[in-house]
Amino acid sequence: MSSVFFERFERHAHGEGLKGHSTHYCPGCGHGLIHKYLAEAIAELGVQDRTVAISPVGCSVFLYYYLDVGNTQAAHGRAPAVAIGHKVANPNAIVVAYQGDGDLASIGLAEIMQACQIGLPMTFIFINNAVYGMTGGQMAPTTLAGMKTTTTPTGRTRLTGEPLKMAEIIGAMDGPVYVERCALFDNKQRVRAQKAIKKALRLQVEDKGLSFVEILSECPTHWKLTPAEAEKWVKEKMVPIFPLGVKKDLEAETERWFNLDPPQFDSARVLDVIGAVSRAPARFGEAFPSHIDAKDVAIKFAGAGGDGAQTIAMLTTRTAINEGFDSTHIPSYGPESRGGTSYADVHIATGEVLSPASPQPHILVAFNPPSLEKFGPHVQPGGIIIYDSSVVPTPPELDPNVQMVGVPCAQIAKQLGKVMVKNVVALGAMQAATNLFPRESFLATIRDALQKQSALLALNEEAFACGGTAYEEATNGTGA
């Protein structure tokens, strides 16, 4: 009698009458034994207060009736995921997941595999009785070949699969530190099971790793055998298919490794990590670019993925916000993030950006012919289009009220030694063409963006300047 059992099982039908001190298990069921060994191990290791037991769905769903520890009842098969949640929430908690064969080896296969792959120090007790108990004797993944269940009424056949040998599967994984299969059919096996459960728990207490103990357990009710016959059946029928013994034990060569520092809540540290600053950015503009629109300027940057349209869209938004205006940037990618179409909508508003889409932009920057053909016709009268004339030799005929300027962005960038900066060339041209914000304002944003890649700064500054010059050349300095 271990003190880890509740003195009275109040959660069992309000603990009235016999239910205050009896389990809900059928006579001869193995679960009660395993509960006892688990309770004893928790008591002997002195971890009752730290233990969180995860009850599964299955006959042992009511584990929380009995163990006077922290209890969480999990959805069918999900105990390993719930266990991970508990363990990372409190690394000092001793987390025990207790699962049956349907729960662990059928519906919850993905979860147990991941938990064992990660190998956080936790304890998994897997009860294999080759049958679904709670739902009334259906086939389990561990049901033996030829065995009759309510869903294999003529016996399990090849068509319904071979019994799943979980201890061997888990034992072959890198994550766990200790894996053993035990049984309960005689005194010797019971002593082994007791020891295995205690060891599985101890390895967690010592922060050494994940343990998995499979226990072949009797289900006299659904096997339609007496308890004594059921013990014999495990020994004679199950053990040949599910060999007993240690499948993996790395205790000797494993050091205590699991250690998580408590999360930090120091405000200075938090602000540093999220990149918040109290210094104001430099401002250069005098006023909102109302020569383009009184309240809200819409811009579209368009090209193929990799053209850098998103980057200069973002630089434009940053510049606008740094100047004290509201601005939004929305990217729209093709199905691939490289090589597909990529366009960006940017808005800059005096007050608040309302609709952030730019179906009819004031400014279009186009890096290839399809972009120019697709978006060019929608540019507002009085607007401006900058296109990369190195890839658009003959631009389409568009509204004469829209100014079109070809700037050989790619060619200039190539001459500068890095074709990648063609977008910054285009940005320089756009600045010169629109005077959206002063040159210095864009340059400050570029410098800020390249803080950690200062080697690229000179190249980008040059590209930006060349873009401006190229615009002046393309328009013969007339600006139109």
Partner: protein, 468 residues
Amino acid sequence: MASTKTKERPKPFLFPQFCKACGRCISACPKDCIEMGTEIHPATGFTPVVLDLEVCNGCGLCLSACPEPYGLMPAPADVDLELLEPETLLGERGSTAPTPEPIPDVRVPLPELETMILKGTHASAVGAILAGCRHFFGYPITPSTEGAELLAKLLPQLDGVFVQAVSEVATVNMIYGCGGAGLRCMTFTSSPGFSLMLEGISYMIGSEVPGVFFDVMRGGPGLGNIGPEQGDIKLACRGLGHGNTHAVVLAPSTPQEMLDLTMNAFDLAFKYRNPVILVSDGYLGQMTGRVQLPSYMIKPGLPEWAVHGDEAHRGNLICSIFLSEADLEQHNIHLLEKYDQIIHDEQRADLFHCEDAEWVIVASNTPARMAKGAVQQLRDRGVKVGLFRPITLWPFPIDALTRPLQRASGLIVVEAGAGQLEDELRLAASHAGIQDIPPIHRVSHYGGVLPQQQEIVDTVTALAGGIV
């Protein structure tokens, strides 16, 4: 163990009413001291085993073979076993666990900070950190992944934990465990992933476990596409798994609200011990804009109900099982009262030019921004139009809409979805006893297409009898 050598080992003792007569002890006893009884016990209907302990040496093997916790047990010393009753030996109490006290959250003031420029999902991730979330569980899915990626980078720098789960099903159950341990944790997902989480959300609601779910909605049904849609409003508002479930559903429409509402979501989740759902469209998730940080951050405490794995919280249970129908009905009544309180206290809406509006547009998330632009454009022309933007989709903020409804000649629901927002409006009006709803018109798109400002302007212009 040492003491057993110096004194006699205890022999087994049995309260016969706790014996189920399985007989496992019989074969365990090397001295044949135990045999199956023949008398039926009147309380159990079993025939308890009979002990004859003449030759018993107290080896204890029978104790280890008895599956019942209060079946065969070591005989207590110095008592008259004949007169022993379970109550005197086993005690009355269910548990000796202490009664835990809640540890309150602390609001830590922050200095004045510069405006940040953040993508929507990033703003939400930053909001989560400021709200005290240090644990994230998730499965990558476009277009929500950038939020997860940022937390994967930032959380370890704060000794937080980022776990990439094996699936969305595992994700929600990790949140169930971590939230059940009393911690603030969250996930980012998108529509197909959100569908997979619904079972777990039902468990969380049933077990009263808080947690924050951010669904960046994309085009459906099925795999659909990664374009922006609002096709999960029905799931979030009406379909949170099985059972009588509800959760606060927050719908941000700017990067600033992505941060602010994510912070609110954690407070609401813990206030009500219930999940909170944030929904945005993929457009908003990807949208970069300015974000002002709040004047405080949260250092979370620990609620008294948590299953934390420590002494104070040992007596706690996270569980959604109520076997007796009467108990489960009571639990449902408790949940329904909670929902009623949420409906009463948590409705939130943003009204723009609704005070004299003859035409009221109803829209949320990004479509609300398109609609706001349309309202501005129409007002410039003198059309009396307003925007009613629900910030809580559930509870739908019907109270704030009551007055505009009285004046309006028509409502125009603008949504990237097939009437899901409209259904929330209709249900809320119906429940609020509002009989006369003006005709409801629609500007809807599906499949990743957003309603645009101009078509909203055109629709309202046509309704108002003007020339498009």
